[in-house]
Point group: D2
Chain length 289, copies 4
């Protein structure tokens, strides 16, 4: 496996590490199901769901509702219904970052020019609609500190990941979705400082996962990597993982209910909404135990 | 199984027929996977995605993009990124109807008053956030007419469904998600008259499925049932299926690629976004073969 | 002039006290212009413009911009352009409350049932589109306390208004737009507690203005009336002024620049956007000196 | 008066020809008022208001309404209220084009680089918030053909404007807002082909107005200039008027009611909403007769 994924799946590839998931990986994953229990890893979505300062909260409007009928609205043939509309950032709550979301030097993953992402065109390359449904083995790496949530800024190192996997008796392998539990979201989500910083993986930990051929990296924080960043760098894990290795990130995961099951590997499913040219998608990843 | 589902899962139940899916049904479904192929059943989402006249098209805005950097935007630490926001009806494209979406006589499924669905509160009962991820056996009932799409208004009867199941060598059973292929979406989606009417199941066909204990009914049209309706009724299948039996509907499915695989049963997954009080959710149902 | 305005301009009237402005009032007002200076009384509009907690900030999206061209966008015939979209509450920043905005006992001004205002229909009675452009005499009543802004909760009484008018040598008369300066907005707008309370007129002051036949009452705070309210009442001035007298309110005015001119009467203009069934409209009231 | 306005009001000027309106022009205009009648020149705003194909219709959502109370919503202290939110393009219905709306060769009016208009910053130069309220003499140039609306594509020439002014006994002068009536909007607004083309001024007519020092040019069509354009050019009047002369355009005016008054000059008012960095603003221009 090359250190860099560019060209690895052809010059026109826009799916990156998701290509590691083939039918073999799907088969392997479905065979992990032992109890049939399904665990959602997603936050509920509402105007109260936290967002970082530079984004607006979700808005949710009813266009027709029970109040209309209570106020005398007609019900032809007795039929009544309700419908609604949302205004929502695609990088909202539990979501996946598409490969067009982050880059440097004006080039996206696989060398596509970032000038293809515009107000008028949206992302012509590496948009979230290129991903397709994700079905593969999921593994949970719990890196809590003796059961305590990690503190803001804590760097989760490669060694820490390795030890966590060892404790769980699993090894990270090609096509896996790796979910890293720091405890940040359940400790801090209700806190106004949730978005001020977070514990998360560092660059070497990210590289270790990338070199193992993982398909997706996720965490129970808002940006997967630790914040504050190492001095002089800005979102270095995003840059490395998304652009160099073509690995999408899963952010805002709710992992405590999964951790409570005591299961480290499972059938993982996640289906990004195929917004054409979108930079990501809210979604509901789930573990099937 | 009672003809009516009200009270069947308790007075406070808001999940209806999804309760038919237990861990046994999940286990049974995962064992159907034979090749590991994953087939998306969803339409892509964009401002061009068709909507009925009474709803507005989706809007999709970039808030930061490659154009900003081309125009001289700063890139602290070299980091560049893009993000975006959508304005979108929840009953949009390929989506699921929550149990709060349709009713009559001011009562939702299980007797909840429809006055709980308001502009200010949204749906306090039977919102889409109550559903959870859906993982179960999916079955495809292809009711095309000798391979030809059904004409607008064609009623797909119980007998037609029964014959289709027989041809496929499967029988509808409790906890299944049943997908009915009429050919309407691929024939008509690009046509301005797509939403003027459609072929679809009639009330007796719906009742037959409901009495078999299906968890969800879906189709490759915009409202599952045939339109025009039988004289004197308005969305009779919605009324019966959603309100009486507590069965959510899946609308706007793309079924031709699945039909092309020649497989009639499969592991079905669909994960509605948990909008608190939402009437439905765009989603990406998928078949794992 | 009756104490209550219902029926005063006919059973179908939806314009209330704006009816006091006839061509005579317009003529009288235009004759007040002495220097030709025009002073805007509006806040600028942006995602940073403060909103109360229960409303979402404005969002403003570019759909085409200079970045698109910098990124290589085509310019047929050399032509380049930019365009944009906003998501905005109508009760936002400097705005006018339409007569459908506030009521009690399920009846709007003039007895129209409030059930005519629904998600599906919006306000069928007393919507902001019924107002038309407002052109009349404006008068500024400065009620600062020796030049100091009033404190939160201060009730501006009828006597205080009367004295202010006396000092200015003017008397409130029929068809006037009365602007009351408390100093709240310039003291507090940048403060996160801006919306927690405010100085403003009390019920008797409001009644005094209403009985004088004013067409509109405005102030440099967010709700015209003092908050906290007198014990046991909720928005009593809104209830009295809007519903009983049919007088629209102007909220969020910027009055310091006008006060600095030392002019107490002027030609006042304000043109609500005619949103059909809207509860109000952001606008730019202006004084022509 | 220079042929080009760049630099005419200083290198930092962002208001262009609106600078022609000084206090003298305001005084002159207010003296034109003879009857006190006020005529709105704006279209009503609703989801039904026509928009060109590349823009989305306005959306208008109630967030609280009479239906909520009919459904049992609480009314603390008896108080009831309604509020709402719109999603709306700023180039919508009757609106003004800010000087950042149109340009060529990557330079806006007065030489500002168009790269200052981005998704992240919006227009840092020549945004609609720089305009301020517009109060000046308005003149109506009726160019109908013997009372008949002009046909699609008809070029309204300088000579035609000159003759219309002559017939009305007025001459275009510095600081005027000139409103050109073609009859297009009342003939065609309800027609699905309204936006396919239009009659309007040609480049020479525009130059004639610009050289006379007009402050704003408006018309009762969607783009002021005739469409189809002369071969080889794209929006040539926009390019000349907005960028070269710094003259904002008023589009989508409703002029028939004004024309019916038989008055050719009047006090004109229009107050663009000050969206920071906005490319334009819906507004309600009005004539005071």
């Amino acid at each position: 496996m090359p250190e860099e994924a560019w060209g690895h799946w052809g010059k026109e590839d826009e799916r990156g590490a998701l290509n590691y998931i083939g039918t073999q990986e799907v088969m392997r994953a479905t065979r992990l199901v032992k109890t049939g229990e399904v665990v959602s890893l997603a936050q509920p979505l509402s105007p109260e769901t936290p967002v970082p300062n530079h984004r607006a909260p979700m808005q949710h409007f009813m266009q027709r509702d029970g109040g209309d009928y209570a106020a005398g609205g007609k019900r032809p043939g007795g039929f009544q219904f309700a419908e609604d509309t949302v205004v929502m950032a695609l990088q909202f709550a539990t979501h996946i970052d598409a490969l067009c979301h982050a880059w440097h030097d004006d080039k996206l993953y696989n060398g596509f020019p970032s000038t293809g992402t515009r107000s008028t065109t949206r992302a012509v390359r590496c948009g979230v609609e290129k991903m397709g449904p994700i079905v593969t083995r999921g593994i949970l790496l719990d890196v809590l500190d003796d059961g305590q949530p990690l503190a803001k800024g804590t760097a989760v190192t490669r060694e820490r990941l390795r030890q966590s996997a060892e404790r769980a008796g699993i090894s990270v392998s090609q096509g896996d979705v790796v979910l890293i539990r720091t405890g940040w979201i359940e400790t801090m989500l209700a806190d106004p400082h949730y978005y001020d910083g977070e514990p998360g993986i560092d660059v070497e930990a990210a590289r270790w996962l990338a070199e193992a051929g993982v398909a997706v990296i996720g965490s129970d924080n808002f940006a997967v990597e630790h914040i504050p960043f190492p001095q002089g760098s800005v979102f270095p894990v995003h840059q490395l993982v998304i652009r160099t290795y073509g690995i999408p990130l899963l952010e805002g995961l709710v992992l405590a209910p999964l951790a409570a099951k005591g299961v480290s590997e499972f059938l993982f499913i996640a289906t990004p909404l195929p917004f054409i040219g979108g930079t990501g998608s809210p979604l509901v990843p789930a573990a099937i135990l």
